[in-house]
């Protein structure tokens, strides 16, 4: 069991290390992730949402729907824990 775990983990490790070969270097300002979508967030966030904190702007506005999903996840987990642990009471 442990041997198999080690083998599979190493395999995935090799895969991961192989994958990182083509990744843009750490802190590279030319990285595509920095120059496509993020560009607009940085330049327009203040105009679009009147928020200085870009993370907040994205979290609550551009991708606010993700945050709704995030809240749903917490809600789900809450009801799930309720379902699992609670005995008695009204719910």
């Amino acid at each position: 069991m442990k041997i198999w775990a080690l083998v599979s983990v190493l395999l995935i490790g090799v895969l991961l290390l192989w994958a990182e070969g083509d990744i843009p270097a750490f802190g590279d300002p030319m990285a595509p992730s920095y120059n496509y979508v993020a560009d607009r967030y940085i330049s327009d966030a203040h105009n679009d949402t009147a928020t200085k904190n870009m993370v907040t702007a994205i979290l609550a506005d551009y991708r606010g729907y993700d945050t709704l999903g995030e809240l749903t996840v917490i809600f789900t987990a809450g009801v799930a824990v309720l379902l699992l642990l609670r005995r008695g009471g009204r719910l």
């Binding site: 198999w4 702007a57 945050t67 917490i74 799930a80 824990v81």
Partner: protein, 124 residues
Amino acid sequence: MIETLLPGLFLRYNYYMAVIIMLIGLYAMIAKGNLIKKIIGLNIFQTAIFLFYISSSDIIGGTAPILTSDPASVYVNPLPHVLILTAIVVAVSTTAVGLALVIRIYEAYGTIEEDELIAMEAKE
């Protein structure tokens, strides 16, 4: 050989570190028999992925993505931060449900060791 590898290694050392942490977490999830340790392994795995995301957002000379009065300042990419805020919540929720399950398992079986559970199930 070393000369070509080393710069690459240094250029992306953050990613390689994340990978190593991921592997530690994954190994713990598969190989550890204790259910709590499995969940810890899961958390390590998830945290490593967060690290991976966050470090991808960094820019040389960048500052936190909060608008400053200095128009020349360079901001790091804010999007991975947002994604990871969401992912952290997801991870916490998963952990909560997992731990609740472990509590119930402990109540039902009196153990949280995987091999003992398997033995008890085989007996039934």
